[in-house]
């Protein structure tokens, strides 16, 4: 598809309003792309989805999809939900309780001649692997089966965008995995923007091409999961993504070039330090995977890289993985990292012990644009 056509078919959303539900969202989703809106409950995710579907009318903004303006507050334009051609899967599926699975799907097939609707509905049910269950009422279906009927109904109208509101929250873990796998397969067949609302970060990371982090109606950052988890735009995003290890340092000009002063240590940073003026205080983040434990009595190569010493204040054994928190004298925040439980045992890690770790220079992510609120360090 030419770039112009792609832009035409994309869903772009820019919404602002002060209240009653504050919104300041700006994101887009390409055809065939799955964008996950993530953030805490009450963060405005569902409101945004409802605004896209035409079920909620914000005070300001523009929504475009498939080359058409669905909503433009300034121009006073707002298409009705019926005119937008949106496939929406509700959190509780919202199946019509008096209609069987076939009739539920047929409701969305009014654009076909009456004689063809029954067969078309059964084809859609077969596509979501519900053959043979067309005559069942919603109350006679399991949670997973209901979700599939809802998906078939949403797709039957040949929507221009598919919206999924926490679609896997009401089913058990096993069913959830299976449905997630099916959604991943289905994506290859339908070439429309898909927006998934979820508060489950693992689910978002597994299914989505990109994540958009929302808080109090504001879109804070959009990026692929890997990038988002390694390079959050601000301490706030890191917190919303449940990332620890956010600290504050100061840019200094040391003997060996520009460094990040953190407590008594001058840390080497692979990227982003050069443009910053010495003396500037900056928030920084380190993924737990980029913390390397120094082995007792057996120095290793990595120890030359940003070695720091801390004290173990927390050790949580979660099966084969042990989560360790280190405290430092110069700041209130702890540094968290994980290592295999057997490695923790072999190294004699215990609460109160002093240990050395290396902070890998390539992992240190600076957030120079984020405001630094506390004099010495804590953001958390």
């Amino acid at each position: 598809m030419a770039e112009r056509d792609l832009r035409q078919a994309r869903l772009s959303v820019q919404l602002q309003q002060a209240g009653p539900i504050p919104l300041a969202a700006d994101f887009h989703c390409e055809p065939g792309e799955l964008l996950a809106l993530v953030g805490p409950s009450g963060g405005g995710k569902t409101t945004l989805l409802r605004a896209i579907a035409g079920l909620y009318r914000p005070a300001g903004g523009v929504i475009r999809c498939a080359g058409e303006t669905w909503f433009d507050a300034a121009a006073g334009r707002s298409l009705r939900p019926q005119q937008r051609r949106v496939g929406l899967v509700f959190q509780d599926y919202a199946l019509f309780p008096h209609l069987d699975a076939r009739a539920n799907v047929m409701v969305a097939l009014d654009h076909l001649p009456a004689a063809e609707r029954g067969q078309a509905a059964e084809r859609w049910l077969a596509r979501v692997r519900l053959d043979g269950l067309a005559g069942r009422l919603p109350s006679e279906l399991s949670g997973g089966q209901r979700q599939r009927v809802a998906l078939a109904r949403a797709l039957a109208r040949r929507p221009r965008v598919l919206l999924l509101d926490e679609p896997f929250s009401a089913v058990d873990q096993v069913t959830r995995r299976r449905l997630q796998r099916e959604l991943a397969l289905l994506r290859e067949e339908i070439h429309i923007p898909i927006v998934l609302v979820t508060h489950d970060l693992d689910e978002a990371a597994a299914l989505a091409d990109r994540l958009c982090v929302l808080h109090a109606g504001r879109s804070l950052q959009q990026a692929p999961a890997e990038q988002l988890f390694r390079r959050p735009a601000s301490p706030e995003v890191a917190r919303l993504l449940d990332r620890h290890n956010v600290f504050t340092g100061r840019v200094v000009e040391g003997d060996e070039g520009r460094r990040l002063q953190w407590g008594p240590w001058q840390l080497e940073v692979a990227e982003g330090l050069a443009p910053l003026a010495p003396g500037k205080r900056v928030s920084w983040y380190l993924p737990p995977s980029d913390v390397v434990l120094h082995r007792r009595g057996r120095p290793s190569r990595g120890e030359r890289e940003n070695p720091v010493q801390g004290r173990v204040v927390e050790m949580a054994v979660l099966g084969g993985i042990t989560s360790v928190a280190l405290a430092f004298d110069h700041c209130d925040d702890t540094l968290r990292f994980e290592l295999p439980t057997h490695a923790a045992r072999r190294n004699g890690l215990a609460r109160g012990e002093a240990v050395g770790v290396s902070l890998l220079a390539a992992g240190i992510h600076l957030m120079p644009d984020a405001p630094v609120t506390h004099p010495e360090s804590p953001h958390r």
Binding site: P81, L88, S139
Partner: protein
């Protein structure tokens, strides 16, 4: 057996149901779905006939239907006749007295429909009108049937309001309930017994048929 009185009763109950059905649907749905400032007041007004003694309601209606009152005067200027002691008068009184019996079950039924079913219908492309026909009405059907049953049965048994507004004019305003009272006053207890049994039978049959209709649904929520 006073067949004329039975026919007046059945005609009154049937017409009350017929006229209250669209009114109850509109009012019940509006009260269930909209939020507006005077809503509690509207609900209280609708419920008023439930708590008012029938003779009190009948007294006020009799006053309002009189040719000296604005309503009665307007009616006379439009039709040339009065409202008191006429079938039209007792029909109007019956509509008002039965308002809560028709509106409340319908309102509760609409309130019990999860709002996202309506939204799911819109997103599936159904217009609000088709959503009402294909989704909402089948879901409120039990409430509707119960509203009709209550209205019909209550109209058959209505006494105080009808007597105040309509008196007991044969073939016009004397319903079966009033005819029974007249027979007792005239010491004709066997006549009263036959008519009472008839009223009991008709009421029972109506309610039976109607609840049978309401119960014939395979689906349940959840």
């Amino acid at each position: 057996m006073d067949w004329t009185a039975l026919s007046v009763s059945l005609r009154l109950a049937g017409l009350t149901c017929l006229l209250l059905l669209p009114l109850g649907l509109w009012l019940g749905r509006t009260l269930a779905l909209s939020r507006f400032r005077g809503k509690p007041l509207c609900e209280a007004l609708v419920a008023l006939p439930l708590v008012m003694p029938p003779t009190v309601l009948g007294f006020y209606l009799m006053q309002a239907f009189g040719v000296e009152s604005p309503l009665g005067g307007l009616w006379q200027s439009l039709t040339g006749g009065g409202l008191n002691f006429t079938f039209t008068g007792i029909l109007l009184a019956s509509l008002l007295a039965n308002l809560p019996f028709a509106v409340q079950p319908i309102q509760r039924a609409f309130e019990s429909i999860p709002p996202n079913l309506r939204e799911a219908a819109w997103c599936s492309g159904l217009s609000p009108g088709r959503t009402l026909l294909r989704i909402e009405l089948p879901l409120v059907w039990p409430g509707l049937v119960s509203a009709l049953a209550l209205t019909f049965a209550h109209t058959l048994g209505e006494f105080g309001v009808i007597l105040m507004v309509g008196g007991a004019i044969d073939g016009e305003t004397r319903t079966l309930a009033i005819a029974i009272y007249d027979r007792v006053q005239a010491f004709d207890e066997s006549g009263a017994a036959i008519m009472s049994a008839m009223l009991l039978l008709v009421s029972f049959l109506t309610i039976g048929v109607v609840y049978g209709l309401a119960g014939r649904r395979r689906w349940r929520r959840g």
